[in-house]
Amino acid sequence: MSIRDKVIAIIAEQALLEPADVTDSSTLESLGIDSLGLVESIFAIEEAFDISVPFNANEPSAGDFDISSVASIIAGIETLISQRT
């Protein structure tokens, strides 16, 4: 499974949707994922890829990790994975 598919699967599970319903332009808000759902998704992503996502719920827009859309989340994770190796 590609990074992209894996991330989408995690987000879809959190949103109780089919992966096909999660698109690049979807936002967490449009998928109905609230703040608790967000931290749970990030936890699942960290577990799945063995990375540490620099996300602070107090400042969601601060830092390099962009959560504004599914595409930006995937891009951020790809960057973190490339930095890991």
Binding site: L36, V39, E40, I42, F43, E46, E47, S52
Partner: protein
Amino acid sequence: MNRVVITGAGTINALGHSVPDTLAAMREGRCGIGPLEFRDVERLSIRIGGQVRGFEPQEQFNRQQLSLYDRFTQFTLIAAKQAIDQAGIEFSDELAARAGVVLGTAGGGVSTWDDNYRSVYEDGKNRVHPFVVPRLMNNAAASHVSMEYNLKGPSFTVSTACASSNHAMAQAFAMVRSGLAPVMVTGGSESMLCFGGVKAWEGLRVMSRDACRPFSLGRNGMVQGEGAGIFVFEEYEHARARGAEPLCEVAGFSMSSDAADIVMPSKQGAARAISGALRDGRIAPEDVGYINAHGTGTNANDKTECAAVADVFGAHADQLMISSTKSMHGHLIGGTGAVELLACIMALRDGVIAPTIGYEEPDPECALDVVPNQAREAKVSVVLSNAFAFGGLNAVLALRKV
């Protein structure tokens, strides 16, 4: 001051997953204590407990709920649903704004602590699930009850070890009696039956390896249980106006502190709590027909409790019945008073006194009628429920037939 009645009761514990099942087990003198089953139990020297069996959380809650509910919260929500369904009450508008929930627990989400300590210490993981804190906090159960039933009034959790539930229910009673709230959901829950929870108790060397035999000669300690008991406390006229059928009346309470020792019980502290509850409920000592004892099955508690009862009641101590249902469901620690209140309700409503099972031989230091081994039919109109906690914090409730 308002009169306060109980209009709903719910439970899940080692004797049953409902009030009728639990009371049937108490009537039969059935023992819910057995071999513990969980990870690493073979590393414990204490391997028995009153575990809730046949309980599948996945059948009761969805995945999202399960990620937030520790076992003590799961127990609470199951018992709360039964109680609120029985009361037939819905919380909306003004009632919702004033009604609240006060619950007792000693440890809160013990298995959440346990699982996650294991994960970071033993398994060497450096990341834990984001909901560890909201799962384990002692007020999680009370908060989830408030969210589930729209209770927006005074809500909090009381933690006084083995007296937590009695302190919580005393507080809820005081709130309804004073008019602060027309209805309160109250009781308590505990779920410490996991490796770390039992290991900690094992360290204190007060646990029995074979059975909980309160008041019996040869008793050798307490046995832990788990579960929850939840009640709806309601102002009498409020209940009457909506045609609710009261299970019994809450007549009085007392709280006292020994201010003496962190673990050893005190006869004076216990006696002050018992006599205080009588005074508070304007109850003549000779009207008390039954006491649900704290009766832990430790040497120290049982003789101290009997001495306190003898001091308060004088000659009447030989006329009343006193039993410890911990012999059947184990010691639910912070949830114990709540499950034991069910035995009090059974005594008042059904005229059945729950027995002290596992009783082998009379102990001269516990020379009261402890209803050994077999339930008994008896008409009683006033009963007490004792709870005497580690730390010397005592809370006694008095209940009366409506």
